[in-house]
Structures are given as C-alpha cells and as structure tokens.
C-alpha cells in the first residue's frame, strides 16, 4: 500500500496551522509574511495532492498551483516592498509600534 491521500492532506493541514500560529503570534512584519508564505505552500500541497489522486490526466490542481504561486509571489513582492518603504519612513517594523491608526 502506498501513501494515501489523507497523509498528504494531514501534512498540509499541519503546515497550515503552524503557519497560522506564526502569522498570529509574530510581531515583526517580515516574520508574519514568512508565515503567510508557509500557509500558501500548504495550500499548494493540498491542490497538487488532489490533482494527483482525482484528476491525474487533466492535471487541474497543478494548473491551479501555478497560478496560486504566481499570485503568492506577487503578494510577497508587494508586501516586502511595503515593509521596506515603511522602514524607510518610520525606522521600525515592529507591528506594536505602528499604531497611528489605532482608535
């Protein structure tokens, strides 16, 4: 018996929740973005696993993965450019210190 689908899905779920914990608990902007990337990678593992098990000829999940990777790379580029721009004007990237909009 080879590796079942549930094994890949549980691995993706574990990675997703670890990334979620990192995104919620970390206090530096770059660290939060790294945790978001980990969550995105877990989702792509999920997509490719389903594609390999359910539609291996159509490869639907693999195409979804390519586009998800493109959007994720664009998001990380913009996010990190934003962090660098914020650092240049406020000299800090601690999320606790960036509280000008706090009510």
């Amino acid at each position: 018996m080879t590796v079942p689908l549930n094994a890949y899905l549980i691995l993706a779920a574990v990675l997703f929740t670890i990334g979620l914990y990192g995104a919620l608990s970390r206090k530096g902007a770059v660290l939060v973005l790294m945790s978001l990337e980990l969550m995105s990678m877990a989702v792509t593992i999920n997509l490719v696993a389903f594609s390999s098990f359910v539609t291996p000829i159509d490869m639907t999940g693999q195409f979804f993965t390519i586009f998800a990777m493109v959007v994720s790379a664009a998001e990380v580029a913009i996010g990190l450019a934003l962090v660098v721009a914020i650092f240049r004007t406020t000299a800090t990237i601690e999320l606790d210190d960036l509280d000008e909009l706090k009510g």
């Binding site: 098990f53 490869m59 990190l80 650092f87």
Partner: protein, 182 residues
Amino acid sequence: MPDLTQIVFGVIALAMVVAAVAMVQTRNVVHSAYWLFANAVLTAAIFGMLHANYVAVIQLLVYAGAVAILTIFTVMLTLRHPDFATRPREFNLFSLLLAGALLALIVLALFTSPEITQQQVQEFPGVREFAIKMFAPDGWALPFEIASLILTAALITAVMWTHQLSKRRPVKKNYRSKGNEE
C-alpha cells in the same frame, strides 16, 4: 513493514514539520528565513513524490529561488543593527489554541469524509502534456496571460514604493518603542 515510498514520505513530512516549527519559534530572524527556504525545498520534494514534475521545478525556482531570497534581503534591509536579529521570545497561547482547534477540526473532517483512492494511470503526464494543456486556447492560456499581468503590476508597484530617486524624507516621529532605543 512500510514500503520505500511510505518511508520517504515519512522522512520528508517529519523534516517539513520540524522546519516549520523551527521557523515560527526561533528567535533569530535570519534563521527563520533559512527555515522557510528549507520548507520550500522540501515542498518541491513532495511535489516530485506526487508526480508533478513541472510544478516541483517551478516551486524551486519561484519559492526557493525568489520568495525566500526576497525575504532574506528584506530582513537585511530592515535590520537597524545586527544585534537586533535576535528578538525576544514571542509566544501567544491564544494563537496556539486557535491553531490547534483548527487542526483538530480539519483532521476530524478528513477522517469522517469518504476515502478517495488513487486513479490508476499507466503513466503520469509529463511536462509536454502540461505545456500542451497550458497554452491551448481552450485550456489555460487566458489565466496564464492574466497571471503575467498580475506579476507585471506587482513588480511595477514594488519598484515604485522603494525607489529613491527623490531626496529621502527625514523621520518625523520617533516610532521606536522604549526597549529598542540605542
């Protein structure tokens, strides 16, 4: 006795979980970026196990080759002093419980849904079939072009926000909290 595929999957999965946990709980920012890189490479290995060869290579190129390097550069650019690379310990019990609850919910949903067995194929399609489907007019050509537009817009935005052709404006307000003052 598990067969070779299961052993390989077990080793890769264990390494991925260890790298992910190390990434979210290490106190050094640069180490965190290194663990993200390790996770990206191991994800490409998982894609290889799932017979998705092209996606595995793209994962190495995009995530391990671009995203991880971008994060390392940003860590370098936003570090006022090398001593600030080691941060105080950030532990949040509420986030841990929330993430644990979500994991329990997902695992419960997995074990109560019907099992999906793998469709038997003679051999998995390769890069050639992937390319034929991607660029077919009734295939994925339109989303591909839209994705290219998204990337172009994102990179133009990133350059616009970070270029320094004009004179740098001085920092107006002291945003640093008390603990980080020199």
